[in-house]
Protein backbone atom coordinates (compact mmCIF):
# COMPACT_ATOMS: atom_id res chain seq x y z
CA UNK A 1 0.00 0.00 0.00
CA UNK A 2 3.09 2.21 -0.20
CA UNK A 3 2.91 5.33 -2.31
CA UNK A 4 -0.73 5.83 -1.71
CA UNK A 5 -1.78 8.86 0.18
CA UNK A 6 -4.25 8.57 2.96
CA UNK A 7 -6.86 10.22 0.79
CA UNK A 8 -6.41 7.57 -1.92
CA UNK A 9 -6.74 4.85 0.67
CA UNK A 10 -10.05 6.22 1.90
CA UNK A 11 -11.35 6.55 -1.63
CA UNK A 12 -10.35 2.99 -2.57
CA UNK A 13 -11.97 1.60 0.49
CA UNK A 14 -15.10 3.54 -0.30
CA UNK A 15 -15.13 2.27 -3.87
CA UNK A 16 -14.78 -1.32 -2.65
CA UNK A 17 -17.63 -0.81 -0.25
CA UNK A 18 -19.79 0.63 -2.99
CA UNK A 19 -19.16 -2.31 -5.29
CA UNK A 20 -20.31 -4.80 -2.66
CA UNK A 21 -23.45 -2.85 -1.83
CA UNK A 22 -26.68 -4.09 -3.29
CA UNK A 23 -29.02 -1.75 -5.05
CA UNK A 24 -31.40 -0.18 -2.53
CA UNK A 25 -34.68 -2.02 -2.43
CA UNK A 26 -37.84 0.04 -2.84
CA UNK A 27 -40.67 -0.30 -0.33
CA UNK A 28 -44.05 -0.95 -1.86
CA UNK A 29 -47.28 0.22 -0.27
CA UNK A 30 -48.03 -3.36 0.73
CA UNK A 31 -44.64 -3.66 2.47
CA UNK A 32 -45.45 -0.49 4.38
CA UNK A 33 -48.83 -1.82 5.38
CA UNK A 34 -47.38 -5.16 6.53
CA UNK A 35 -44.67 -3.34 8.50
CA UNK A 36 -47.27 -1.19 10.24
CA UNK A 37 -49.42 -4.23 10.96
CA UNK A 38 -46.47 -6.13 12.46
CA UNK A 39 -45.58 -3.14 14.63
CA UNK A 40 -49.12 -3.05 16.08
CA UNK A 41 -48.81 -5.23 19.18
CA UNK A 42 -52.51 -5.37 20.05
CA UNK A 43 -53.39 -6.45 16.52
CA UNK A 44 -50.66 -9.12 16.36
CA UNK A 45 -51.59 -10.64 19.73
CA UNK A 46 -55.23 -10.59 18.64
CA UNK A 47 -54.31 -12.31 15.40
CA UNK A 48 -52.63 -15.14 17.31
CA UNK A 49 -55.53 -15.54 19.73
CA UNK A 50 -57.89 -15.47 16.77
CA UNK A 51 -55.93 -18.22 15.03
CA UNK A 52 -56.04 -20.21 18.27
CA UNK A 53 -59.83 -19.81 18.49
CA UNK A 54 -60.26 -20.87 14.86
CA UNK A 55 -58.14 -23.97 15.49
CA UNK A 56 -60.12 -24.61 18.67
CA UNK A 57 -63.38 -24.48 16.73
CA UNK A 58 -62.44 -26.42 13.61
CA UNK A 59 -59.66 -28.80 14.66
CA UNK A 60 -60.54 -29.14 18.35
CA UNK A 61 -63.56 -31.43 17.88
CA UNK A 62 -61.26 -34.19 16.51
CA UNK A 63 -59.46 -34.33 19.85
CA UNK A 64 -62.53 -34.43 22.04
CA UNK A 65 -63.96 -37.90 22.69
CA UNK A 66 -67.53 -36.57 22.92
CA UNK A 67 -69.79 -35.45 20.09
CA UNK A 68 -71.58 -32.13 20.46
CA UNK A 69 -74.96 -33.82 20.94
CA UNK A 70 -73.75 -36.96 22.65
CA UNK A 71 -75.19 -37.61 26.12
CA UNK A 72 -73.00 -38.92 28.92
CA UNK A 73 -75.57 -40.38 31.30
CA UNK A 74 -72.98 -40.77 34.03
CA UNK A 75 -72.35 -37.05 34.37
CA UNK A 76 -75.26 -34.67 34.05
CA UNK A 77 -74.80 -31.05 35.09
CA UNK A 78 -71.28 -31.78 36.40
CA UNK A 79 -68.63 -29.09 36.92
CA UNK A 80 -65.36 -29.28 34.94
CA UNK A 81 -63.80 -32.66 35.71
CA UNK A 82 -60.45 -33.66 34.24
CA UNK A 83 -60.65 -37.33 35.19
CA UNK A 84 -63.96 -37.93 33.40
CA UNK A 85 -62.66 -36.02 30.36
CA UNK A 86 -65.19 -33.17 30.59
CA UNK A 87 -62.82 -30.22 30.66
CA UNK A 88 -65.58 -27.59 30.52
CA UNK A 89 -68.11 -29.68 32.50
CA UNK A 90 -71.43 -30.92 31.16
CA UNK A 91 -74.81 -29.28 30.59
CA UNK A 92 -78.26 -30.17 31.92
CA UNK A 93 -78.55 -32.95 29.35
CA UNK A 94 -75.16 -34.45 30.13
CA UNK A 95 -73.57 -33.20 26.93
CA UNK A 96 -69.89 -32.29 27.04
CA UNK A 97 -69.64 -28.52 27.19
CA UNK A 98 -66.20 -28.39 25.57
CA UNK A 99 -67.51 -30.18 22.49
CA UNK A 100 -70.58 -27.95 22.44
CA UNK A 101 -68.54 -24.78 22.82
CA UNK A 102 -66.30 -25.86 19.94
CA UNK A 103 -69.30 -26.57 17.77
CA UNK A 104 -70.94 -23.30 18.79
CA UNK A 105 -67.82 -21.29 17.99
CA UNK A 106 -67.65 -23.03 14.62
CA UNK A 107 -71.28 -22.12 13.94
CA UNK A 108 -70.80 -18.48 14.96
CA UNK A 109 -67.71 -18.18 12.75
CA UNK A 110 -69.48 -19.73 9.76
CA UNK A 111 -72.50 -17.47 10.19
CA UNK A 112 -70.18 -14.48 10.39
CA UNK A 113 -68.27 -15.43 7.24
CA UNK A 114 -71.31 -16.23 5.11
CA UNK A 115 -73.28 -13.21 6.26
CA UNK A 116 -70.30 -10.91 5.77
CA UNK A 117 -69.83 -12.25 2.24
CA UNK A 118 -73.48 -11.61 1.46
CA UNK A 119 -73.31 -8.10 2.86
CA UNK A 120 -70.08 -7.35 1.00
CA UNK A 121 -71.46 -8.56 -2.33
CA UNK A 122 -74.69 -6.58 -2.00
CA UNK A 123 -72.91 -3.52 -0.64
CA UNK A 124 -70.29 -3.43 -3.41
CA UNK A 125 -72.77 -3.95 -6.24
CA UNK A 126 -75.22 -1.38 -4.86
CA UNK A 127 -72.64 1.24 -3.94
CA UNK A 128 -70.62 0.90 -7.15
CA UNK A 129 -73.70 1.16 -9.35
CA UNK A 130 -75.04 4.19 -7.45
CA UNK A 131 -71.65 5.90 -7.48
CA UNK A 132 -70.83 5.17 -11.11
CA UNK A 133 -74.11 6.22 -12.66
CA UNK A 134 -74.49 9.21 -10.35
CA UNK A 135 -77.18 11.84 -10.87
CA UNK A 136 -80.77 10.79 -10.34
CA UNK A 137 -79.98 7.06 -10.04
CA UNK A 138 -77.53 7.85 -7.25
CA UNK A 139 -79.94 10.21 -5.49
CA UNK A 140 -82.77 7.65 -5.48
CA UNK A 141 -80.56 4.71 -4.50
CA UNK A 142 -78.88 6.55 -1.64
CA UNK A 143 -82.19 7.98 -0.45
CA UNK A 144 -83.38 4.37 -0.08
CA UNK A 145 -80.29 3.58 1.98
CA UNK A 146 -80.97 6.60 4.20
CA UNK A 147 -84.52 5.42 4.76
CA UNK A 148 -83.41 1.88 5.60
CA UNK A 149 -80.94 3.37 8.08
CA UNK A 150 -83.78 5.06 9.90
CA UNK A 151 -85.69 1.79 10.32
CA UNK A 152 -85.15 -0.27 13.43
CA UNK A 153 -83.66 -3.04 11.33
CA UNK A 154 -83.62 -5.59 14.13
CA UNK A 155 -87.43 -5.72 13.92
CA UNK A 156 -87.12 -6.75 10.30
CA UNK A 157 -84.48 -9.35 11.07
CA UNK A 158 -86.76 -10.83 13.69
CA UNK A 159 -89.74 -10.84 11.34
CA UNK A 160 -87.64 -12.38 8.54
CA UNK A 161 -86.22 -15.05 10.82
CA UNK A 162 -89.63 -15.94 12.15
CA UNK A 163 -91.04 -16.12 8.65
CA UNK A 164 -88.35 -18.17 7.00
CA UNK A 165 -88.33 -20.59 9.85
CA UNK A 166 -85.20 -21.75 11.53
CA UNK A 167 -83.21 -22.58 8.44
CA UNK A 168 -79.60 -21.57 9.27
CA UNK A 169 -78.76 -20.70 5.66
CA UNK A 170 -81.61 -18.23 5.47
CA UNK A 171 -80.50 -16.85 8.80
CA UNK A 172 -77.04 -16.15 7.35
CA UNK A 173 -78.48 -14.53 4.26
CA UNK A 174 -81.03 -12.58 6.25
CA UNK A 175 -78.43 -11.04 8.54
CA UNK A 176 -76.12 -10.30 5.62
CA UNK A 177 -78.92 -8.72 3.65
CA UNK A 178 -79.44 -6.22 6.45
CA UNK A 179 -75.83 -5.31 7.20
CA UNK A 180 -74.89 -4.00 3.76
CA UNK A 181 -75.95 -0.38 4.21
CA UNK A 182 -72.69 1.05 5.54
CA UNK A 183 -70.71 -0.95 2.99
CA UNK A 184 -72.82 0.53 0.19
CA UNK A 185 -72.13 4.05 1.47
CA UNK A 186 -68.37 3.48 1.70
CA UNK A 187 -68.18 1.88 -1.75
CA UNK A 188 -70.25 4.67 -3.31
CA UNK A 189 -67.94 7.31 -1.87
CA UNK A 190 -64.85 5.55 -3.23
CA UNK A 191 -66.48 5.00 -6.61
CA UNK A 192 -67.26 8.70 -6.94
CA UNK A 193 -63.55 9.52 -6.80
CA UNK A 194 -62.39 6.48 -8.80
CA UNK A 195 -64.65 7.14 -11.76
CA UNK A 196 -62.88 10.45 -12.45
CA UNK A 197 -59.50 8.69 -12.79
CA UNK A 198 -57.70 8.37 -16.12
CA UNK A 199 -57.90 4.59 -16.34
CA UNK A 200 -61.68 4.74 -16.25
CA UNK A 201 -61.64 7.37 -18.94
CA UNK A 202 -59.29 5.17 -20.99
CA UNK A 203 -61.62 2.20 -20.58
CA UNK A 204 -64.55 4.33 -21.64
CA UNK A 205 -62.63 5.65 -24.64
CA UNK A 206 -61.82 2.05 -25.55
CA UNK A 207 -65.54 1.38 -25.78
CA UNK A 208 -66.06 -0.59 -22.56
CA UNK A 209 -69.67 -0.87 -21.41
CA UNK A 210 -70.60 0.68 -18.03
CA UNK A 211 -71.02 -2.76 -16.42
CA UNK A 212 -67.58 -3.82 -17.58
CA UNK A 213 -66.08 -0.63 -16.22
CA UNK A 214 -67.81 -1.05 -12.86
CA UNK A 215 -66.94 -4.69 -12.28
CA UNK A 216 -63.60 -4.97 -14.11
CA UNK A 217 -62.03 -1.59 -13.47
CA UNK A 218 -63.61 0.03 -10.43
CA UNK A 219 -64.45 -2.85 -8.09
CA UNK A 220 -60.89 -4.32 -7.99
CA UNK A 221 -59.64 -0.91 -6.85
CA UNK A 222 -61.99 -0.95 -3.89
CA UNK A 223 -60.21 -3.84 -2.16
CA UNK A 224 -58.59 -1.79 0.64
CA UNK A 225 -61.64 -0.13 2.20
CA UNK A 226 -63.78 -3.19 1.55
CA UNK A 227 -61.37 -5.50 3.39
CA UNK A 228 -61.15 -3.09 6.32
CA UNK A 229 -64.87 -2.65 6.63
CA UNK A 230 -65.59 -6.36 6.14
CA UNK A 231 -63.28 -7.22 9.03
CA UNK A 232 -65.16 -4.79 11.23
CA UNK A 233 -68.50 -6.21 10.07
CA UNK A 234 -67.67 -9.75 11.23
CA UNK A 235 -67.88 -9.02 14.98
CA UNK A 236 -71.10 -7.08 14.46
CA UNK A 237 -72.64 -10.03 12.70
CA UNK A 238 -71.50 -12.39 15.43
CA UNK A 239 -73.26 -10.11 17.91
CA UNK A 240 -76.46 -10.02 15.84
CA UNK A 241 -76.41 -13.80 15.46
CA UNK A 242 -75.84 -14.42 19.15
CA UNK A 243 -78.52 -11.85 19.93
CA UNK A 244 -81.05 -13.69 17.75
CA UNK A 245 -79.99 -17.02 19.19
CA UNK A 246 -80.30 -15.53 22.65
CA UNK A 247 -83.91 -14.62 21.94
CA UNK A 248 -84.44 -18.20 20.74
CA UNK A 249 -84.75 -17.21 17.07
CA UNK A 250 -81.36 -18.32 15.77
CA UNK A 251 -79.63 -21.68 15.66
CA UNK A 252 -81.82 -24.49 17.02
CA UNK A 253 -81.07 -27.50 19.22
CA UNK A 254 -79.24 -29.85 19.07
CA UNK A 255 -77.07 -27.57 16.95
CA UNK A 256 -75.78 -24.61 18.85
CA UNK A 257 -73.95 -21.32 18.63
CA UNK A 258 -72.22 -19.17 21.20
CA UNK A 259 -75.39 -17.11 21.64
CA UNK A 260 -77.53 -20.20 22.17
CA UNK A 261 -75.04 -21.58 24.70
CA UNK A 262 -75.04 -18.32 26.64
CA UNK A 263 -78.81 -18.09 26.57
CA UNK A 264 -79.14 -21.59 28.03
CA UNK A 265 -76.36 -20.88 30.51
CA UNK A 266 -77.59 -17.50 31.74
CA UNK A 267 -80.79 -18.51 33.58
CA UNK A 268 -79.05 -21.37 35.41
CA UNK A 269 -75.78 -19.54 36.07
CA UNK A 270 -76.43 -19.58 39.80
CA UNK A 271 -76.30 -23.39 39.91
CA UNK A 272 -74.03 -24.21 36.97
CA UNK A 273 -71.87 -21.13 36.36
CA UNK A 274 -69.54 -22.96 33.94
CA UNK A 275 -72.37 -23.14 31.39
CA UNK A 276 -72.33 -19.36 31.16
CA UNK A 277 -68.68 -18.60 31.78
CA UNK A 278 -66.85 -20.75 29.21
CA UNK A 279 -68.94 -19.81 26.16
CA UNK A 280 -68.88 -16.23 27.46
CA UNK A 281 -65.09 -16.14 27.60
CA UNK A 282 -64.79 -17.52 24.06
CA UNK A 283 -67.35 -15.09 22.67
CA UNK A 284 -65.77 -12.06 24.34
CA UNK A 285 -62.20 -12.96 23.30
CA UNK A 286 -63.40 -13.63 19.75
CA UNK A 287 -65.09 -10.25 19.56
CA UNK A 288 -62.16 -8.40 21.13
CA UNK A 289 -59.66 -10.04 18.75
CA UNK A 290 -61.73 -9.38 15.65
CA UNK A 291 -62.16 -5.75 16.63
CA UNK A 292 -58.46 -5.22 17.29
CA UNK A 293 -57.44 -6.98 14.07
CA UNK A 294 -59.95 -4.84 12.17
CA UNK A 295 -58.64 -1.66 13.78
CA UNK A 296 -55.06 -2.76 13.07
CA UNK A 297 -55.86 -3.41 9.41
CA UNK A 298 -57.49 -0.02 9.14
CA UNK A 299 -54.48 1.72 10.65
CA UNK A 300 -52.17 -0.26 8.36
CA UNK A 301 -54.08 0.23 5.11
CA UNK A 302 -55.78 3.58 5.58
CA UNK A 303 -53.75 6.25 3.81
CA UNK A 304 -55.27 9.02 5.93
CA UNK A 305 -52.88 8.74 8.89
CA UNK A 306 -49.67 8.42 6.87
Amino acid sequence: MAGLTQKDEVLTRYAEKLSTLKAPKGRSLTDDAIRRMLANKAAMVSLFVLAAIVLFAFVGPYFVPWGYSEVDWASIRKPPDFEAGHFFGTDHNGRDLLARTMFGTQMSLIVALVATTVSVVIGIAYGAIAGYFGGRVDAVMMRIVDMLYALPYILFVIILVVIFGRNPILLFVGIGAIEWLTMARIVRGQTLTLKEKEFVEAARAGGAKPWTIIFRHIVPNLTGPVVIYATLTIPEIIIVESFLSYLGLGIQEPQTSLGTLISTGAPVAEVTPWMLIYPGIILVSLLFCLTYVGDGLRDALDPKDR
Binding site: M147, Y149, A150, L151, P152, Y153, I154, L155, F156, I158, I159, L160, V162, I163, F164, P235, I239, S242, F243, Y246, L247, L249, G259, I262, S263, G265, A266, A269, E270, P273, L276, G280, L283, V284, L287, F288, T291
Partner: protein, 307 residues
Protein backbone atom coordinates in the same frame (compact mmCIF):
# COMPACT_ATOMS: atom_id res chain seq x y z
CA UNK B 1 -87.13 26.90 13.34
CA UNK B 2 -90.82 26.03 13.14
CA UNK B 3 -90.68 25.66 9.38
CA UNK B 4 -87.67 23.41 9.72
CA UNK B 5 -89.50 21.26 12.25
CA UNK B 6 -92.60 20.93 10.04
CA UNK B 7 -90.49 19.93 7.08
CA UNK B 8 -88.73 17.27 9.13
CA UNK B 9 -92.01 15.79 10.38
CA UNK B 10 -93.51 15.73 6.89
CA UNK B 11 -90.47 13.96 5.44
CA UNK B 12 -90.36 11.41 8.27
CA UNK B 13 -93.97 10.22 8.15
CA UNK B 14 -93.67 8.44 4.76
CA UNK B 15 -90.89 6.31 6.27
CA UNK B 16 -93.23 5.03 8.97
CA UNK B 17 -95.87 4.39 6.32
CA UNK B 18 -93.45 2.43 4.11
CA UNK B 19 -92.18 0.41 7.06
CA UNK B 20 -95.69 -0.64 8.04
CA UNK B 21 -96.56 -1.48 4.42
CA UNK B 22 -93.45 -3.61 3.96
CA UNK B 23 -94.11 -5.39 7.26
CA UNK B 24 -97.72 -6.01 6.31
CA UNK B 25 -96.88 -7.73 3.05
CA UNK B 26 -93.87 -9.68 4.39
CA UNK B 27 -96.02 -11.05 7.17
CA UNK B 28 -98.78 -12.11 4.80
CA UNK B 29 -96.28 -13.70 2.41
CA UNK B 30 -95.05 -15.93 5.22
CA UNK B 31 -96.27 -19.47 5.41
CA UNK B 32 -98.54 -20.22 8.35
CA UNK B 33 -101.21 -18.09 9.95
CA UNK B 34 -102.38 -17.10 13.43
CA UNK B 35 -104.99 -19.85 13.60
CA UNK B 36 -102.85 -22.83 12.66
CA UNK B 37 -102.68 -25.21 15.54
CA UNK B 38 -102.33 -28.87 16.27
CA UNK B 39 -106.05 -29.12 16.86
CA UNK B 40 -107.66 -27.49 13.83
CA UNK B 41 -110.86 -25.51 14.30
CA UNK B 42 -114.03 -26.79 12.63
CA UNK B 43 -114.27 -25.20 9.16
CA UNK B 44 -117.40 -23.16 9.96
CA UNK B 45 -115.81 -21.70 13.08
CA UNK B 46 -112.59 -20.99 11.21
CA UNK B 47 -114.55 -19.19 8.47
CA UNK B 48 -116.27 -17.04 11.10
CA UNK B 49 -113.01 -16.25 12.86
CA UNK B 50 -111.32 -15.35 9.59
CA UNK B 51 -114.24 -13.12 8.66
CA UNK B 52 -114.00 -11.37 12.06
CA UNK B 53 -110.35 -10.50 11.42
CA UNK B 54 -111.02 -9.59 7.76
CA UNK B 55 -108.75 -12.45 6.70
CA UNK B 56 -111.32 -13.63 4.13
CA UNK B 57 -110.92 -10.45 2.07
CA UNK B 58 -108.46 -10.15 -0.83
CA UNK B 59 -105.00 -9.14 0.38
CA UNK B 60 -105.15 -5.62 -0.97
CA UNK B 61 -108.55 -4.99 0.65
CA UNK B 62 -107.10 -6.21 3.95
CA UNK B 63 -104.29 -3.73 3.57
CA UNK B 64 -106.68 -0.83 2.85
CA UNK B 65 -108.86 -1.82 5.79
CA UNK B 66 -105.83 -1.96 8.07
CA UNK B 67 -104.43 1.39 6.98
CA UNK B 68 -107.92 2.90 7.29
CA UNK B 69 -108.11 1.57 10.83
CA UNK B 70 -104.68 2.93 11.74
CA UNK B 71 -105.59 6.38 10.44
CA UNK B 72 -108.65 6.34 12.68
CA UNK B 73 -106.44 5.28 15.60
CA UNK B 74 -107.68 1.68 15.65
CA UNK B 75 -104.93 -0.94 15.56
CA UNK B 76 -107.40 -3.82 15.37
CA UNK B 77 -107.84 -6.88 17.59
CA UNK B 78 -104.97 -9.06 18.74
CA UNK B 79 -105.03 -12.46 17.06
CA UNK B 80 -103.39 -14.43 19.84
CA UNK B 81 -104.66 -12.79 23.03
CA UNK B 82 -108.28 -13.14 21.99
CA UNK B 83 -110.05 -10.76 24.33
CA UNK B 84 -107.66 -7.84 23.90
CA UNK B 85 -107.24 -5.27 21.19
CA UNK B 86 -103.73 -4.40 20.07
CA UNK B 87 -104.08 -0.93 21.57
CA UNK B 88 -105.05 -2.37 24.95
CA UNK B 89 -102.03 -4.69 25.03
CA UNK B 90 -99.74 -1.87 23.99
CA UNK B 91 -101.20 0.41 26.64
CA UNK B 92 -100.14 -2.19 29.22
CA UNK B 93 -96.55 -2.42 28.03
CA UNK B 94 -95.92 1.09 26.74
CA UNK B 95 -95.50 3.11 29.95
CA UNK B 96 -92.88 0.69 31.13
CA UNK B 97 -90.95 0.53 27.85
CA UNK B 98 -90.96 4.31 27.58
CA UNK B 99 -89.81 4.71 31.16
CA UNK B 100 -86.98 2.22 30.69
CA UNK B 101 -85.91 3.52 27.29
CA UNK B 102 -86.00 7.22 28.10
CA UNK B 103 -84.25 6.81 31.46
CA UNK B 104 -81.48 4.82 29.80
CA UNK B 105 -81.25 7.29 26.92
CA UNK B 106 -80.91 10.35 29.17
CA UNK B 107 -78.52 8.71 31.64
CA UNK B 108 -76.36 7.15 28.93
CA UNK B 109 -76.09 10.35 26.93
CA UNK B 110 -75.14 12.39 29.99
CA UNK B 111 -72.57 9.88 31.20
CA UNK B 112 -71.20 9.38 27.71
CA UNK B 113 -70.67 13.11 27.15
CA UNK B 114 -69.09 13.64 30.57
CA UNK B 115 -66.73 10.67 30.40
CA UNK B 116 -65.79 11.53 26.84
CA UNK B 117 -64.83 15.03 27.98
CA UNK B 118 -62.84 13.69 30.93
CA UNK B 119 -60.99 11.25 28.68
CA UNK B 120 -60.18 14.03 26.22
CA UNK B 121 -58.94 16.42 28.91
CA UNK B 122 -56.77 13.72 30.52
CA UNK B 123 -55.67 12.32 27.15
CA UNK B 124 -53.03 9.56 27.55
CA UNK B 125 -53.11 9.70 31.36
CA UNK B 126 -54.62 7.09 33.65
CA UNK B 127 -58.25 8.38 33.70
CA UNK B 128 -58.20 8.15 29.90
CA UNK B 129 -56.85 4.59 29.85
CA UNK B 130 -59.37 3.48 32.45
CA UNK B 131 -62.26 5.02 30.54
CA UNK B 132 -61.08 3.58 27.22
CA UNK B 133 -61.13 0.12 28.80
CA UNK B 134 -64.68 0.56 30.18
CA UNK B 135 -65.76 1.92 26.81
CA UNK B 136 -64.25 -1.02 24.91
CA UNK B 137 -66.13 -3.44 27.13
CA UNK B 138 -69.36 -1.57 26.50
CA UNK B 139 -68.86 -1.51 22.73
CA UNK B 140 -67.70 -5.09 22.32
CA UNK B 141 -69.37 -7.30 24.92
CA UNK B 142 -72.97 -8.04 23.88
CA UNK B 143 -75.51 -6.63 26.31
CA UNK B 144 -77.13 -9.99 27.07
CA UNK B 145 -73.81 -11.19 28.43
CA UNK B 146 -73.23 -8.04 30.47
CA UNK B 147 -76.80 -8.37 31.70
CA UNK B 148 -76.40 -12.01 32.72
CA UNK B 149 -73.13 -11.31 34.54
CA UNK B 150 -74.42 -8.23 36.39
CA UNK B 151 -77.55 -10.14 37.33
CA UNK B 152 -75.45 -12.99 38.68
CA UNK B 153 -73.06 -10.74 40.59
CA UNK B 154 -75.31 -8.05 42.07
CA UNK B 155 -78.55 -10.02 42.13
CA UNK B 156 -77.48 -13.49 43.17
CA UNK B 157 -74.07 -13.37 44.86
CA UNK B 158 -74.15 -9.97 46.56
CA UNK B 159 -77.95 -9.67 46.79
CA UNK B 160 -77.75 -5.90 46.60
CA UNK B 161 -80.41 -5.55 43.95
CA UNK B 162 -83.33 -7.64 42.72
CA UNK B 163 -82.14 -9.98 39.95
CA UNK B 164 -85.22 -9.43 37.83
CA UNK B 165 -88.94 -8.85 37.73
CA UNK B 166 -90.81 -5.63 38.19
CA UNK B 167 -92.65 -3.98 41.05
CA UNK B 168 -94.35 -0.75 39.92
CA UNK B 169 -92.66 2.32 41.34
CA UNK B 170 -89.62 0.48 42.63
CA UNK B 171 -86.41 2.12 41.45
CA UNK B 172 -84.28 -0.79 42.68
CA UNK B 173 -85.77 -3.02 39.98
CA UNK B 174 -84.77 -0.50 37.34
CA UNK B 175 -81.10 -0.11 38.29
CA UNK B 176 -79.69 -3.20 36.59
CA UNK B 177 -81.80 -3.01 33.41
CA UNK B 178 -80.96 0.67 32.95
CA UNK B 179 -77.27 0.00 33.65
CA UNK B 180 -77.11 -2.76 31.03
CA UNK B 181 -79.05 -0.74 28.48
CA UNK B 182 -76.98 2.41 29.07
CA UNK B 183 -73.52 0.88 29.06
CA UNK B 184 -73.27 0.20 25.33
CA UNK B 185 -74.94 3.47 24.41
CA UNK B 186 -72.82 5.54 26.79
CA UNK B 187 -69.69 3.78 25.52
CA UNK B 188 -70.32 4.71 21.91
CA UNK B 189 -71.13 8.30 22.81
CA UNK B 190 -68.08 8.56 25.05
CA UNK B 191 -65.83 7.36 22.24
CA UNK B 192 -67.26 9.91 19.81
CA UNK B 193 -67.10 12.69 22.38
CA UNK B 194 -63.48 11.93 23.23
CA UNK B 195 -62.45 12.11 19.57
CA UNK B 196 -64.30 15.30 18.76
CA UNK B 197 -63.25 16.97 22.02
CA UNK B 198 -59.58 16.26 21.33
CA UNK B 199 -60.02 17.76 17.89
CA UNK B 200 -61.84 20.81 19.26
CA UNK B 201 -59.22 21.41 21.95
CA UNK B 202 -56.63 21.69 19.18
CA UNK B 203 -58.44 24.47 17.29
CA UNK B 204 -57.39 28.09 17.09
CA UNK B 205 -60.35 29.56 18.95
CA UNK B 206 -59.68 27.34 21.95
CA UNK B 207 -56.06 28.54 21.93
CA UNK B 208 -57.33 32.12 21.76
CA UNK B 209 -59.68 31.52 24.68
CA UNK B 210 -56.82 30.08 26.72
CA UNK B 211 -54.38 32.81 25.81
CA UNK B 212 -56.75 35.58 26.89
CA UNK B 213 -56.54 34.02 30.35
CA UNK B 214 -59.76 31.99 30.65
CA UNK B 215 -59.63 29.12 33.13
CA UNK B 216 -59.71 25.60 31.70
CA UNK B 217 -63.22 25.01 33.06
CA UNK B 218 -64.52 28.13 31.36
CA UNK B 219 -62.83 27.21 28.10
CA UNK B 220 -64.54 23.84 28.13
CA UNK B 221 -67.95 25.13 29.17
CA UNK B 222 -68.15 28.23 26.99
CA UNK B 223 -66.10 27.46 23.90
CA UNK B 224 -65.29 23.80 23.43
CA UNK B 225 -68.39 21.85 24.42
CA UNK B 226 -70.86 23.09 21.83
CA UNK B 227 -68.87 22.33 18.67
CA UNK B 228 -67.59 19.09 20.19
CA UNK B 229 -71.17 17.93 20.71
CA UNK B 230 -72.10 18.02 17.02
CA UNK B 231 -70.90 14.50 16.04
CA UNK B 232 -72.42 13.15 19.25
CA UNK B 233 -75.81 14.61 18.45
CA UNK B 234 -75.72 13.23 14.92
CA UNK B 235 -75.07 9.79 16.40
CA UNK B 236 -78.06 9.96 18.75
CA UNK B 237 -80.45 9.01 15.94
CA UNK B 238 -78.81 5.70 14.97
CA UNK B 239 -78.00 5.24 18.65
CA UNK B 240 -81.72 5.06 19.35
CA UNK B 241 -81.97 2.01 17.11
CA UNK B 242 -79.27 0.29 19.14
CA UNK B 243 -81.04 1.22 22.34
CA UNK B 244 -84.25 -0.27 21.04
CA UNK B 245 -82.53 -3.52 20.07
CA UNK B 246 -81.02 -3.57 23.52
CA UNK B 247 -84.35 -3.05 25.20
CA UNK B 248 -85.71 -6.22 23.54
CA UNK B 249 -82.92 -8.19 25.19
CA UNK B 250 -83.06 -6.40 28.52
CA UNK B 251 -86.79 -6.95 28.86
CA UNK B 252 -86.16 -10.62 28.14
CA UNK B 253 -83.25 -11.05 30.60
CA UNK B 254 -84.86 -9.29 33.51
CA UNK B 255 -88.40 -10.47 32.80
CA UNK B 256 -89.81 -6.96 32.45
CA UNK B 257 -93.36 -6.25 31.24
CA UNK B 258 -92.51 -4.04 28.25
CA UNK B 259 -93.54 -4.02 24.60
CA UNK B 260 -90.43 -5.91 23.45
CA UNK B 261 -91.67 -9.14 24.90
CA UNK B 262 -95.04 -8.77 23.20
CA UNK B 263 -93.29 -8.13 19.91
CA UNK B 264 -91.26 -11.34 19.97
CA UNK B 265 -94.22 -13.40 21.18
CA UNK B 266 -96.45 -11.90 18.52
CA UNK B 267 -93.96 -12.58 15.73
CA UNK B 268 -93.71 -16.21 16.82
CA UNK B 269 -97.52 -16.58 16.96
CA UNK B 270 -98.07 -14.85 13.60
CA UNK B 271 -100.20 -12.30 15.42
CA UNK B 272 -100.31 -9.93 12.44
CA UNK B 273 -102.07 -7.07 14.20
CA UNK B 274 -99.78 -7.08 17.20
CA UNK B 275 -96.55 -7.21 15.14
CA UNK B 276 -97.71 -4.34 12.95
CA UNK B 277 -98.87 -2.38 15.98
CA UNK B 278 -95.56 -2.70 17.81
CA UNK B 279 -93.59 -1.95 14.64
CA UNK B 280 -95.65 1.17 14.11
CA UNK B 281 -95.13 2.19 17.72
CA UNK B 282 -91.36 1.74 17.49
CA UNK B 283 -91.26 3.62 14.20
CA UNK B 284 -93.20 6.58 15.58
CA UNK B 285 -91.06 6.60 18.71
CA UNK B 286 -87.87 6.63 16.68
CA UNK B 287 -89.20 9.30 14.36
CA UNK B 288 -90.26 11.49 17.29
CA UNK B 289 -86.92 11.14 19.07
CA UNK B 290 -85.00 11.65 15.82
CA UNK B 291 -86.96 14.84 15.34
CA UNK B 292 -85.90 16.10 18.76
CA UNK B 293 -82.31 15.13 17.94
CA UNK B 294 -82.51 17.02 14.64
CA UNK B 295 -83.87 20.12 16.32
CA UNK B 296 -81.04 20.06 18.85
CA UNK B 297 -78.68 19.63 15.92
CA UNK B 298 -80.14 22.66 14.19
CA UNK B 299 -79.73 24.66 17.40
CA UNK B 300 -76.08 23.62 17.71
CA UNK B 301 -75.12 24.06 14.09
CA UNK B 302 -76.79 27.01 12.27
CA UNK B 303 -75.58 25.67 8.91
CA UNK B 304 -78.17 22.89 9.12
CA UNK B 305 -81.08 25.29 9.66
CA UNK B 306 -80.57 27.23 6.45
CA UNK B 307 -79.92 24.37 4.08
Amino acid sequence: MLRYATRRVLSALPIAFIAVTVCFFILRAAPGGPFDSDRPLPPEVLANVRAYYNLDQPLFMQYLLYIGGVLRGDLGPSMSSYDFSVSELMAIGMPFSLQLGLTAFVIATTIGVLTGMIAAVYKNKWPDYLLVLVVMIGVIVPNFLIGALLQLWFGVYLRWLPAGGWVPGSWAHLVLPVAVLSWAHAARISRLMRGSMIETLGTNYVRTARSKGLGERMVLARHAIKPALIPVVSYLGPGLSYLLTGSLVVEQIFGLPGIGRYFIQAALNRDYGMVLGTTLFYMLLIIALNLIVDLVYAWLDPKVRYR
